[in-house]
Amino acid sequence: MAKSLELKSWRALIVFFLFIIFLMLILFRMAYLAFIQDDFLNNKGKDLTEGLRPIKILRASIYDRNMIPLATTINQYDLYGLKGLEKDDIPFVISGNSIKFVENKLTKKSLIKKDLSLEELEKIKKLRNNYLEIEEVESRIYPFGEQFSNMVGFAGKDGKGLEGIELIYDEVLSGEDGLKRIYKNRNQEPFKKPEILREPYKGEDIVLTLDKDYQFIAFKNLIEGIKKFEAKGGSVVILDNKLGEVLAAASFPAYNPNNPNRKIQRNRVLLDAFEPGSIMKPFAYALALANNTIEANSKIDTDPGSLILNGRKIVDPKNYQSITAREVIAKSSQVGASIISLSLEGNTLIEGLKSFGFSKALSIDFPSINFGSINQRENISKHEIASLGFGYGLTASPIQIARAFSVFANDGILKDFVIIKGDYVYETRLLESSINQEVMKSLELVVEEGTGVLARSQFAKVAGKTGTTHKVSSSGGYDDSSYIGSFAGITEIANRSLTIFVTLDEPGLNRYSGGTIAAPVFSEIVDDIYHLSL
């Protein structure tokens, strides 16, 4: 037996020496990982285990004046099948061939059922099948569909406002999503509570001054009028004169904002500036009264029923002979209105019309809202001054025309109407009370015996003015066969003082004047509001 078996032998020392070297390598390597590679390795690890996810916040709602939702967001749950799902494991009967199977297994992630009910949701969760995935999607709902479509607009799938109030108040409504850091294991399941990096911020609800019942009445009667008079479109705006608030703003064509394939239609109340025509006569009349260039009872000679200004002829439908200024309004005499306008300096008339808000901004925010324009050339001709008096040479949107008419209902005070509940209503006095009363008398006469008799209502006293405008043709000049018939009316009903303005665009050529087509629609609206208030 060898005596050399001891741990101090050179053989043992070589073994120990090798071990020590390897041990040193281990220590160096550990230090290298812990102190030099640590950032790199940590980042690699974070890439795997951590993720940033938004904390979704529901878009705020839009309400009518009585807090009836006009636009609101709900969560919708869609069921998807993941690749590899067995055909027999699908919990619903599916139709259509959009879902493809190979050997009874799903080949790619496919939608199985949209918008699960809460019961279905519970049922799916209980199945605990990893191949079934529920996706939460926000869904924007517009309970009143078409009626409010041109006004409220809509938001896209990503919850971003694309039209109307939804667009212009997008930032207010959307708020801001929060942000969280999630920790997930290799099966993508969370293993730790997420860390909230930024709290979500909920948007503010918007309450409109619109009233869903008034809007319904406006929309319904507008559509019926359009059908009856074979018009292409039209608008109705209803103002609460005392409050300075818009109660309804209906516009047609409309669209269903709930339909993803919706086709946008413009809001005619706010966007369609057109030449208002005879509707403008009371404003020239009021300005002449205010400037003392005529009096209510002063006679105006319209004989022979036509007038030539700057080589252009202005014609009445018939020779009204000598009539009072009030009758000029009631009968809607072009010649009479020209004479009234020409009694004023051109500048006085233009500035006066501007003071009624024509060509001026409104305190309503709306995408591509149109404030109209007015002819204010320096060397304005007599014909042009006369034209302004009967509503040509300027454009105005229905809301502007209605706002200007509300001055007469508000005893000469102009209010800057709002559509957002709580917005401040600016007001200024434009006319002396006595002068305003004179104008009102002429407007009452329009309905009593003038062009607006069809606007009468058996339930309320009505005053107003008709308008019939030639539309500008696309080739320039006026189109003899396309008109806009309108009626602006003032009435007190249901404890409210209302200004209602109706336009019908391109009615059939049998009946097209404002008095024959828009006035009856107005009358129906007044009757419906009366019935609503019962």
Partner: protein, 366 residues
């Protein structure tokens, strides 16, 4: 009780307790994912520890000369066990490797037992044939048996264990006195066989290349090592805290067995890893000291055995840690006393039982 060698028993006690703690911690998610019972592996590990203690008690009653006398019988028994792995119905296959015998309650890995058997045989052989050891014939005999065992283990296939088996045999033989020439020839032969084993199996090449830059094949063959390294990197100096490992969330495969060291470093930092290495060092030192005692008393078999056990623990620990920190290509090796795995734990505890018995006998002689 004062006859128990505390300098051996205490480090083992620490390691086993620490191992239990870490197996519980590292295996929760894997266990939950596999069985829905998060402490499944932890509870089984307790049973393995109890079996290991039983084994220590049994071996402490067996005189160590028994092993020296029946070494060849033990080795043949071990070889037969290795063969049963290939018997259908008994052998158990995981991921294409047949390494286990199905014993219903648990799966026995006979290559772990082979380590013990091989140490006993080589020590016994050296004792009997000490004078012939330097001669070619005396040198070749144990190598023939070693190659039989190696072939069986390689056929499972298990390159890591084969390497350990060969290394431990070679180191003991070298220490016991084979000539330098024989030793060099032996080393070259083994390296050649290992190299050919690697290059003949494509997945071993993949492991090797992914070892060089694991993040290159992060989502593929480099996944395991990358995630082990991420664990070590994340731990930095003091770790993310006991139980707070992120890598054990199914990212790192085998977090409670072969890659438990990475989880230890992630949770307890480099400091935790070094303390663990120090405990291993203390154990190995105690074993070598006992070996020295034996040589002093002329108990060559016992001395070689203690030496062999110390070397085996050193090699396997260093290999396992090396693999965990990307110093060596990935091999399926457990961390002694720490990793989950019945055969490994019980085998190592049995070896400790035998050394404690040897120590007890030494104390009685003085």
């Amino acid at each position: 009780m004062d006859r128990v060698n505390v300098s051996i028993a205490f480090p083992v006690f620490l390691l086993v307790c620490f191992g239990l703690l870490m197996v519980f911690s590292a295996s929760v998610f894997v266990a939950e994912n596999l069985t829905t019972q998060p402490f499944y592996f932890g509870y089984k590990h307790i049973i393995f520890i109890l079996l290991g203690i039983l084994s220590i008690i049994i071996t402490s009653f067996i005189p160590s000369d028994f092993y020296a006398r029946f070494d060849w019988l033990i080795l043949i028994g071990s070889i037969l066990l290795l063969c049963t792995v290939f018997l259908p119905g008994i052998g158990y296959e995981v991921n294409g490797s047949r390494r286990w015998i199905n014993l219903i309650f648990f799966k026995l890995q006979p290559s772990e037992l082979a380590k013990l058997a091989l140490i006993i045989y080589v020590c016994g052989y050296c004792l009997r044939r000490n004078q012939e050891l330097a001669s070619t014939a005396g040198f070749l005999r144990p190598l023939i048996l070693l190659s039989v065992i190696s072939t069986l283990v390689m056929a499972q296939p298990d390159l890591g264990t084969t390497l350990i088996l060969c290394l431990i045999a070679v180191v003991i033989l070298f220490f016991a006195g084979i000539s330098v020439f024989q030793f060099i020839m032996l080393t070259i032969t083994m390296l050649g066989l290992a190299a050919s084993a690697i290059f003949l199996a494509p997945w071993r090449i993949a492991r090797l290349t992914s070892f060089i830059d694991p993040f290159q094949t992060f989502m593929d063959s480099g996944w395991q090592l990358s995630n082990a390294l991420i664990g070590s990197g994340r731990g930095e100096l003091f770790g993310v805290g006991l139980g707070a490992s992120i890598q054990k969330n199914l990212y790192l495969p085998e977090p409670h067995t072969d890659f438990i060291f990475s989880i230890i470093v992630e949770e307890l930092g480099m400091v935790g890893g070094i303390i663990l290495i120090i405990i291993f060092g203390a154990l190995v030192y105690a074993l070598l000291k006992e070996s020295s005692n034996c040589f002093g008393l002329g108990r060559y078999f016992q001395g070689l055995f203690c030496f062999g056990v110390g070397i085996l623990i050193s090699i396997q620990t260093m290999f396992n840690i090396g693999v965990n920190i990307g110093l060596l290509p990935t091999k399926g090796l457990t961390l002694p006393f720490i990793s989950y795995g019945g055969a490994s734990l019980i085998t190592f505890m049995t070896m400790i039982g035998i050394t404690l018995r040897i120590s007890f006998e030494n104390n009685n002689k003085t």
